[in-house]
């Protein structure tokens, strides 16, 4: 009997631990501070991004551009893009598409209807809409963070889940 119980406990432990391994952690974004997981994420070197977010699950690095992907290969929860600036690769964009993403003010913003998200970016974070959200060949909107060169793009590709991209615009 006790052997059977031990087997059940072991099986449950394995199931639980493999579930944890398969599910990436919830990322915490702060649009006002422009941080991810409490760390500045744009304008950073590849090494600094690894220090902030950990080792990427996929990494592609050339001399002029690089890309780090986090989470599952089939549906990354974060993609960080780098470009060469002054001889160094620096992050200029981070795309986020995990619906569990939690923003400091707006909460789980990727679970909001995207027009509602646009309204809340303006009303609660004081952002300026530079490209109103609309759906043509793709659904997309862009807003600028006041006093900064950083923009927030948000949208949806066809049937895919919504995304948010934080990027330097100049």
């Amino acid at each position: 009997m006790s052997v059977r119980r031990a087997v059940v406990v072991l099986a449950l432990t394995l199931v639980t631990s493999s579930a944890h391994a398969a599910t990436p952690p919830v990322l915490r974004l702060d649009l006002k501070a422009q941080t991810l997981g409490g760390k500045t994420i744009l304008g950073r070197t590849t090494r600094a991004v690894v220090a902030a977010l950990g080792r990427p699950t996929q990494r592609r690095q050339g001399s002029k551009r690089a890309r780090f992907s986090y989470g599952r290969a089939a549906s990354p929860s974060a993609i960080v893009l780098f470009r060469r600036e002054g001889g160094t690769l620096r992050s200029w964009s981070v795309a986020l598409s995990d619906r569990r993403l939690r923003e400091a003010t707006l909460g789980t913003l990727l679970q909001l209807p995207l027009r509602r998200l646009q309204q809340r970016l303006v009303a609660e974070l004081g952002m300026r809409v530079v490209r109103p959200y609309r759906c043509a060949t793709t659904c997309r909107g862009d807003a600028a963070i006041p006093g900064s060169r950083v923009r927030v793009g948000f949208g949806r590709v066809g049937t895919r889940p919504p995304y948010l991209v934080l990027y330097e615009a100049d």
């Binding site: 551009r65 993609i79 949208g155 995304y163 615009a169």
Partner: protein
């Protein structure tokens, strides 16, 4: 007076013939892909009348074919549409990429935007098949050929480099 009238009629007839390719989108039997440097609106799908390998450019540039037959080459990254990422190539390399997409939709984007997954994810998310994408690339390659040797096929991402747009067009190198 008769001569003047004849000249006007000839010019009108020539004009109608010359624009046949351009109006092919609405014509039941399009002749070819016409030179058109004005309407460059990007598309995710080729027009219904376009048949790859059949509907060729009306006036192909003689220098548009490579001397040798190389394998697919990577498209060139350029920043003309910053803060979007853009990628361009010559028409014959676009044709090779089109063939790649017909063969393996999940990997062909590696040569086009250096990111096979994003290419497949974005294009298939728009309901496009590898065949649709290939046909569209071939159409724009023919548009580039029709326009002249300095024209290139290009594609790009949304602002911030994400997501990939899966639309193509042509532009002239200055």
């Amino acid at each position: 007076m008769k001569i003047v009238r004849l000249v006007i009629a000839s010019v009108a007839a020539f004009g109608a013939l010359a624009s046949a390719g351009a109006v092919a989108a609405t014509s039941p039997a399009p002749l070819c892909v016409a030179k058109d440097t004005q309407n460059l609106t990007p598309t995710t799908k080729a027009p219904a009348w376009y048949m790859p390998g059949v509907t060729g450019p009306c006036q192909a540039d003689s220098g548009s074919k490579p001397i040798v037959e190389p394998m697919t080459a990577y498209w060139v990254y350029f920043s003309a549409f910053y803060p979007s990422d853009a990628f361009r190539t010559v028409p014959y390399n676009a044709d090779y990429s089109a063939r790649d997409c017909e063969v393996n939709f999940r990997t062909c984007g590696q040569y086009i935007i250096s990111y096979a997954w994003a290419f497949w994810y974005s294009c298939s998310g728009r309901g496009l098949s590898g065949y649709d994408v290939a046909r569209n690339i071939r159409y724009w390659a023919d548009r580039a050929r029709a326009n002249g040797s300095n024209w290139r096929v290009y594609t790009w991402t949304e602002g911030g480099g994400y997501p990939y747009g899966c639309a193509f067009s042509v532009y002239a190198l200055s």
